[in-house]
Amino acid sequence: MNPRMRAIVRAELGLDGDGAGLDRRGFLQVTATAAGGLLLAARFPSIADAAGAAAPGPQLYIAIAPDNRVTLTIPHSEIGQGVRTSLAMLIAEELDADWSQIRVDNAPFDRRFDDQGAGGSSSVWSRFDSLRQVGAAMRTMLIGAAAARWRVPAAQLRADNGFVVHAASRRRASFAELFADAARQPVPDNPPLRPRAQWKIIGKDHIGKDVDDIVHGRARFGLDQRLPGMLFASIERPREFGATPASFDRAAALAVPGVKHVIELAAVAPSVDMAHARITGGMPRTASRWYRCSGAPAPRWYTRLATPTPSSPAQRPCIAPTTASRSSPTPLSSR
């Protein structure tokens, strides 16, 4: 990592300047969970500050269940970039957890997490040190707890695949057994990170943490969200780059079975966010019988779709169909 990035993540961790440590701003907190396990909450000061004093709180959670399973809850959005696997690798590497025992959940959308978007390939590099620090801090506390329990120097102990091990006396204790004591250990300042040559998880191939759910149809996507009275909307755009909708036939669109509303969007001035989308107003999607485009060159598709064959897509209703769901009408949550 280059020095500039290192400075940014150090600032995020509150490690800047006067030797301030991880615990200076309540960086890590441990609490009991309803399920009998324990939960470690990590808070990244710069995010908490950015989100405002009204919304401080942890941004990342590590839960260890009595059976030693580790569940990470990360604020980042998973959109196929593999963040649920890659960020877990960063924590697991330093925690020395059993990779097969790690599950990853996404945090709900909440203001306290600040920006939960994904983009710019930033997740791994921006968290590369801080998440390893979280794992290392937790490992140090677990080892500290075992050292106190067994009355041996911490330097004689090591973490190994979900356990703390004292080789000399052949004692070992699972993370789950030690977690309650570990919660009372001091949060270490700058816990040592494992040198690259010793990485066991980072840099290796792993089956994605989502893969089993995906191939068995258990993964859930935005499309799976259902709320009472929910309607489905689609924004219809011209197919031609630069085309501007000229007109559309509202009555014909409303006549399509299930269509509740047809809403014409106001023209949106290009902004930083919209620069690529180039929304110029209107909603028609194809050269169906409901609309015509202006601003695009007379395209071949127009003549093709204007005289559709029975099986062509132009036969399908395509004006912003807002169809009713199966349940009763209630407004969508503002979230």
Binding site: G80, G208, V211, V215, L223
Partner: protein, 73 residues
């Protein structure tokens, strides 16, 4: 097919994968040992924005292999 998909780490976001898997299963039901061309033709209707096509094709071959091994046993 599911075992092959897991073994080759096929999905990324996963959104399209249920359809990919069903199409692959249908292909293998009628063509037990498909060629690359068979796979490309049969799977052409399933789009994947993550671009997992290379692994999908490999996983269909893997599934065919797994199925034939199972029958041989």
């Amino acid at each position: 097919v599911q075992v092959a998909w897991t073994r080759l780490n096929v999905p990324q976001c996963g959104y399209c994968q249920a359809g990919q898997i069903m199409t692959a299963a249908a292909l293998l039901a009628s063509v037990p040992t498909p060629t690359d061309a068979d796979i490309d033709a049969a799977m052409a209707g399933n789009l994947c924005r993550c671009g997992t096509y290379v692994r999908i094709r490999a996983a269909v071959h893997e599934a065919a292999k797994l199925a034939s091994t199972k029958v041989a046993r």
